[in-house]
Symmetry: C2
Subunit: 96 residues, 2 copies
């Protein structure tokens, strides 16, 4: 495989990065909507049971090459970030 092929592979990685980011943004919008519904219902936003279920489902679905241990870490980061965003927004709302 030559340098040119390496460049091609890198372009493919760049394309995937963008697609992954688009989906994480889409996910973030949905989680914000869910947060608003829960707020109206007076329910706690953070739901460790639901998080556990999502992780278990993904690990069962996963056929690699990503190992489940690393899947766990990445998705915990994605789940956590959605909560962080909501916390920040609440903080900003309090400051207004």
């Amino acid at each position: 495989m030559r340098q040119q092929d390496l460049e091609q592979l890198r372009k493919e990685v760049d394309g995937l990065n963008v697609k992954i980011l688009d989906l994480i943004n889409e996910r973030t919008s949905l989680v914000k909507k869910i947060g608003k519904v829960k707020e109206k219902q007076g329910v706690n936003r953070y739901d460790p049971m639901r998080e556990r279920e999502m992780l278990n489902f993904l690990k069962e679905y996963n056929e690699g090459p990503l190992p489940n241990g690393i899947l766990d870490e990445i998705f915990k980061g994605i789940f956590m970030s959605a909560l962080e965003i909501q916390k920040d927004e609440e903080k900003n709302a309090l400051l207004v």
Copy 2:
């Protein structure tokens, strides 16, 4: 918004989780290929400059709602995981 709508939103999140995982797996396969090319070239796999470039590109491209600080954390995790997988495989290769 009713409970039924909440269920619908959750199903959409579940669908996105799977799509994100599929893309991360696709990305992992590509990075493994790149690692093999670099190995043949005798070049170090870890390239902090390339990582910086990818992150800068993504942060410029990003229009939210994901804040760039959290984007940074998630993608550093994704980049790191690709390296971890390669390290594990090398370790296993040594054990064979």
